[in-house]
Amino acid sequence: MPAAGLLELGAHAAQTQAVVPGRDWEAARDYVSQHAKPEDLVAFAPRWADPIGREHFGPAIATIEREARPDESRFPRAFEVSIRGAHVPALRTWRPSAEQHFGGVAVTTLENPAPLPIIDDLVSAVRPDRMRVSAGDRECPFVHMPTQSGGLGFGPAIPGDRFGCPGGAFVGVSVVADLDYVPHRCIYAPPSGGTVRLRFLGVRFGRALSGHHALYVEAEHLKGAPITVTFSVGGSTLGTVVHRDGEGWKQFEFDTGPLSGRQEDLTADITSSGERRLYCFEAATR
């Protein structure tokens, strides 16, 4: 019994001394900043250490685009920055090509075995020269307003730069927490009980249009009306996808082979009859 007590005391001493110092994080940051290209992913593990990674790496490396990525498929390479031997689960099948240790921080370079490069990212097109928005028969102008946000239950922040529609509907880029509270940067477009039409101008097409969509996590629990999104080009429907509460960050993909290599306007009609449909989606051509 004394041995058990002393063992616990020793374990406590060891665990409380095992904190990774800031200088290790900063050494890892210097290494990653020298080697990472803009198209690479930088990700932190374990998940609870993500704020520490963002604190030390800063917003230029730990960008919102990397932190709130739709998934990992678009990245050809990843720098996994980890402590305590943890790994990013989504990178488990990627091939390690280098590993560096900076005290308690390990940086593993991983190669994506099957990267899916994107051609046009629709989230980046949410700006007045690349997109038009309408609700019913009325245009929604692009406005610069204060950002709106709140505490728990408010939903994703409503960005200051957004398309504002009569009646309160809006479209802008925000970050949604999915059912697992993972962040995703996406086009926040609550349909407000009707239909919101988004027209993306001059989209460059490849073989597919793929994306994800979700409701804000608390709205996913409401068991409310589904959200229907129909994508069309030149009056022809590419496909329709439905999101039902509880489905979380759900993937969709449409074949755009016949449009490959062309540049066309793409329309997304987002419809729902329900309340508090705090809907967000992302899509890209590949």
Binding site: P2, G5, P156
Partner: protein, 573 residues
Amino acid sequence: MRLPSASEAWSAWRRGFAAPIGWRDHVVGAALALTYLTWLLTTAGALGFTRDETFYFQAGTQYAGWWRMLFEHGSEALRQGAIDPSWSYNHEHPALMKSLFGISEYLLHQKWHLLADASTGFRLPGMACGAAAVWTTYMFGARAWNRRSGVAAAVFFALMPRVFFHAHLACFDIPITAMWILCVYVHWRAQDRRNIGWALATGVVFGLALETKLNSWFLPFALAPHALFVHRHAIARSLAAGRLSIPTSLVSMAVVGPLVFLALWPYLWNDTFARVQWYVEFHLHHEYYNMEFLGKNYFGPPSPKGYLPLMVLATVPGVTLLLFGLGAVDRAIAAFRRLSAWARRLLRQPADTPRGDPLETDLLLFLSFAVAVGPFFLPTTPIFGGTKHWLPAYPVLALVAGRGFDLVASAMRSAFLALSERRRATAECALWASVFLAPLAVTLHSFPFGLSSYVPLVGGTAGGADLGLNRQFWGFTSQNAAEEFLNAKAPRGASVYIHDTTWDAWARMQQEGRVRRDLHPVGSPSEANEALVEHELHMNEVDYSIWVALGTDAPAYIVKHDGVPIVSVYERR
């Protein structure tokens, strides 16, 4: 005058241990309690104000105002028009502790200036309850087994990090723990003494427990079967004689308990039935809270079956649990021997009669523990609140651990019989140190992040984070963000999004000099120069809102415990 030598002092101490349990033990219990209370008082300033506390501070102030009105104006205070305005606030919880919080603050801070901070005045009754639980646990252990068991049990209880954390608060979780073990203890004594005084005391303490928190509703499920079993022969005889004999302590609980409950809660003096009904229904249909367990956010029932066992393993020091296991096996073997002898007698086979316990202490402790934890295995019970809701089980856990410690110490003394008394005393001191140093170190280190801290068995705080166990709740760690960053670095007059912290908590922290007075709180990240996020899984959504509102995902500073993020502070770019 010659001072006694160490061995003489030890012998005197041993002789003291041989004396019957009595007033000396109350001195020992009081000393343990006073030590714990002093420790709590000296550390209280480091702990920010939890959400719930701010509501109870407010309620306490209102209730204390009414008590003053009663003493100053007599019957005028008894009118419904005087009662309802004072007692309607926060009437979803009984009034005893809130009254004590308010009276303590009024007398010790406002009137007599014995306490510098109002918050310490509000919190003192909760701390006193923690100390009282230590005292009762000692007395129970000393009487049930011996003084060594009692001291060990009291210390094991005091050195549980979650107990230490909650014992600081003006909340109900430690008070109901104290009332629970006191009620069990007084009930146990009532079965022994069998006089009206102890029976009445049982009813009174049960009433106080009812007036403390709703866990007390479950106490009869432990105490009634125990009393009926203790008195089974007398009950059987009376039934054979055509009479129904119910143990007096149970009658007292049924009659005196509800009277005390009603007497101390003036809100129930009018529209009594409707208001009691509302109180019961409020808790039967309580709103749910978010709670992370193994990386998943739970919001509503059913509880995962492994929640309570894993959280106990992750938050109670391992050596305490090990000794609890040893003590439990010892008591289980004793129970098995009794059962076996009883079965043999039933079959008319020769059997040794193991020494019986007319008070059926093992059964009482088992029932008390089982009833305290049982509701958390029901499919209808959500997991909100984490470990605090089964704290009433912990004094019993500590008592059984104390028994386990006594077995180890006795075995050691037997093994060392050949040694001199002095060496045996030294060996026993070393045993005490080896067993209590780890719980002491873990408990000391956990504060003030008692809800984020986990024991070495699961890897400490970082191990708990790896497992996906809840990091905190109640929004009290904004004080740490202020102490470590905002007070020194925030621009003068900065607006601060205070996240899960209540307005009243922030204001009080400013009044008491814990947070800079010029930092004005705001309710949304969009309005803020500085934004806090107190890390919990479901609070990630607030984190992401801050990214959008402040235009950065990089915290300017993070409050950490053992390297694990507790609060992130963002600054507007």
